[in-house]
């Protein structure tokens, strides 16, 4: 039986471990037949899992807090990328040198539901409130909107991806990292499953396969790159090569492991920002598969 895994977005170096597990036959070794589907909207996959239309989905930790607060039956079962990737990016040669310069500026974002919270936290120390800036949903045209000068900064840009992209286009960017600007650290990419189906034995095998793939990736970055582009020729370009390298240090080496305190801390942050009403016990939405 096929295990359907919804990616968070199109295939990119963030998914390297999954691709390698597939190409290297690690999934097969664990008795898994995995089908990976890239969605068009990153907000869909968890909902589809909650609705029972897919087995696993890649999502973001902040989203998970929002979703369980809204009653979606989801649980995190593994971590893909254990640090935030999200960052606030401006043009390196532009007028913004510090976050304090953002007052009265336009900030583009791709709606994920929690950008305002992160921005609020990042800007508060500089005495800037959300009313002092203009937020513009630019959907997924993050770097183009910045490059074309339609916005002064973007939030939601991935430091491993958008930064490289801008550099290649000849407009290098400057990133401000949320975890350095007052936002608690969190897991950028996690795997969620429907909380009613946690006894599916394939999930555990899947997480094990993931760990194996991560080890291979860390040990053999060159070969991993070749495996990565083997069946995704369209990814074989400068951008992905550089993004691949930038992403390498960020993969969770122990995908199954859960730092409950970290989750709790972030939930508290979300509550303080008014995004969720109550702080649920961590084990209601994140577990380590036994």
């Amino acid at each position: 039986e096929k295990l359907t895994v919804l990616l968070d977005w199109f295939v990119n170096p963030d998914h390297a471990t999954l691709i390698i597990a597939e190409e290297k036959g690690i999934f097969k070794k664990h008795g898994l037949d995995v089908e990976m589907i890239a969605p068009a909207d990153p907000n869909d996959p968890p909902k589809l899992v909650a609705a029972g239309k897919a087995d696993l989905a890649i999502s973001y930790q902040p989203q998970l807090h929002l979703q369980v607060a809204e009653g979606l039956p989801l649980k995190r079962i593994a971590t893909l990328i254990a640090t935030p990737l999200n960052s606030l990016v401006v043009l390196k040669d532009g007028p913004i040198e510090s976050l304090a310069d953002l007052k009265g500026k336009k900030i583009g974002y791709s709606i994920g539901g929690f950008e305002t919270a992160i921005l609020k936290a990042m800007l508060a120390p500089h005495n800037i409130s959300l009313d002092d800036i203009t937020l513009i949903n630019v959907n997924f045209s993050l770097s183009p909107s910045l490059l074309s000068g339609q916005v002064d900064a973007v939030i939601g840009a991935f430091r491993n991806f958008e930064l490289n992209q801008m550099d290649i286009e000849g407009y290098p960017g400057r990133a401000f990292y949320p975890e350095e600007e007052g936002v608690p650290a969190y897991d950028e990419l996690i795997l969620v499953a429907n909380s009613g189906k946690l006894d599916d034995p394939r999930f555990k095998s899947f997480v094990e396969a993931l760990e194996e793939a991560t080890q291979y990736l860390v040990n053999h970055p060159e070969d991993s790159w070749k495996l990565f582009i083997k069946n995704h020729k369209e990814l074989d370009d400068e951008l992905n090569r550089r993004a691949f390298a930038s992403t390498l240090p960020r993969f969770a080496l122990r995908p199954a492991a859960l730092d409950a305190a970290r989750y709790h801390r972030f939930a508290a942050f979300m509550q303080a920002q008014g995004l969720i009403k109550t702080i649920l016990p961590v084990h209601d939405y994140a577990i380590v598969l036994q």
Binding site: E70, I111, G113, T134, I136, P144, S148
Partner: protein
Amino acid sequence: MKLLRILITVGGLILIWESLTALLDLPKFMLPSPLVVAEALYSHAGLIAENALTTLIEILVGLFLGLVFGMVSAVLISAYRPVKQWVFPLLIASQAIPVFAIAPLLVLWLGYGLAPKIVMSLLIIYFPVTVGFLDGLNRTHPAWLNLAALLQQSGRRRRLRNTLNLYRYIKIPFALPSLASGIRVAAAIAPIGAIVGEWVGASSGLGYLMLHANARVQTDLMFASLLVLTVMALLLYYLIDHGLRLALPWLADQTDLHSQQRSL
């Protein structure tokens, strides 16, 4: 009477919707019950109203421009053979390129204000209006055209003036019913342009609000916005439909007579 009927329809729908959510025990994120939506509508009234205004303006301006451009294009295309031969394929192509496939680019070119949404409504509305009107203009029966040409020949030879008069007094009146048909379609699809525009880049509007609600799994707010959008679109449609009926009395007459006769 008509209002009553609409109210009953709406009531029935809500009932079906309610019982659907109740019977299937659907979770809120799949389909919130009408009550929950009503609640969201009430508690977020200000927010929704504010965003609805943005969208309304986008729709109205887009509709207006779409109608004007559509009608002018149809007349030009029908009046000048070269225009038709060279421009018409472009027109189709402009449709074939789904506006919102280039929407992200439009936003890059035009910024994140009203402009790209209006351009998108315009692009979407433009086509049905043009095709409808053009069809009507081309269908004018030749006998009338012949007669008109004859009548004009005895005047001084002023090509442009004659063409204008031909359109004003013969072709356009003949094509009005087809134009009306096109305008009806346009009115119904006008909201699409605005919403797509908001989707690819905006800082307010119902589409923007829906995206937010969707991302935060606030399905109730999303449905509330959707409801407001639908009501807005329905009102727009019926207003325009009504206006068209008033503007084309000789067609209305026909239908009235007809229904009178059938009722025998």
